[in-house]
Amino acid sequence: MPLVADLGRAELVRRLGGPGLLLRTGPFVSRIHSNIPLVADGIGLMYRDNPIEEPGGFADFQVRLRQSSGLRRWWHPQVRFDHDGREPFAPLPVAQAWPMFEWVMNWCVSNRAHRYLIVHAAVVERNGCAIVLPAPPGSGKSTLCAALVCRGWRLLSDELTLVRRSDGMLAPLVRPVSLKNASIDVIRAFAPDAVLGPSVPGTNKGTIAHLKAPADSVARVGDVARARHIVFPRYEAGAPTTLTPLSKGQLFIRVAENAFNYFVLGPAGFDCLADLVEGCDGHEFRYSQLDEAVALFDRLAGVTA
């Protein structure tokens, strides 16, 4: 299957501005239309290893990001997103088109893909051991996820954990890791060879930059994984690296609080989440040193130093 990188810049722009780019991310295909150069730049860099489908094929999601017309085209230009003709988000400054694209891609999955239990969590895997990292914004989840990925862990997702309801396996949804504010320089220093996109200041989450998913993680997007641990990370400056166990009941409630569609799924969601919790150990995790955090996760996965 051809990749985004095979298209070349001119063909990528032509598809985005014409019939649409059919981008595969994990189990989903999105038809993307956009006339905004920042979106083409972002896809060309961040999704270069992702497969694409031929124009005219089936797509799960229809994503259209366009620049406002009329006076707005010249005065404080904005980017607008419409999904099947509706605009669920307020327009944003066009300089934020790339972060908006990523938020839109998250929105499509978390609002539509109810054949999965969807948890607001990162997932990484090493040595056959998948670890789910649910956490609210600001907890250091994405920083930890990025650090693990830069030290050899496979990325399944930075933002949306997809639990397959049929068998409880985790389906990869490999996309860029969203880094915010101080985390951007932390990861630049931790992994100087990592591919980061441009920093976009002034968003409602502060400054955002995305870390490109490793090519081998993208290539293994068909390899589902079994969750073994669910870890709630919390970055605290100066804190020692600490892993504290959670009871199954606490774990269930904490994961449910971080699930997008647990309440939509009813008893099926309850059973799916209970099965997930049954097969995992739960922990709270405090950290301040990424090297120590990575070493601890390696031990959880049975990786010897």
Partner: protein
Amino acid sequence: MSLSTASEQSGSWRRPGPAVLHYRQWQDDVVLFNEVSGATHLLTLEALVVLQHIGAAPTPESALAAVLRERFEVDDATLTHDVAELLEQLSCLNLIEPCPL
């Protein structure tokens, strides 16, 4: 696992309406999902025992106390207070309701 709906009978406590309660138990932790309300609760094993007993038949408080005494070997003084508190908590969660006399 799920608890089937109790038929309405006169008694001290009963399960309200046609609720179906799904639960999982891990040692002393019980997580319970009320299919009618959509609510999820983290309960104790004692609460599950009470719900199971009330599910079988609407029951006076003294009978629930007897079940808990036998199951958990609690002394009577502690039990009286704990049972009343437990029933109040379950009632607040709309998992049980007092039966009319």
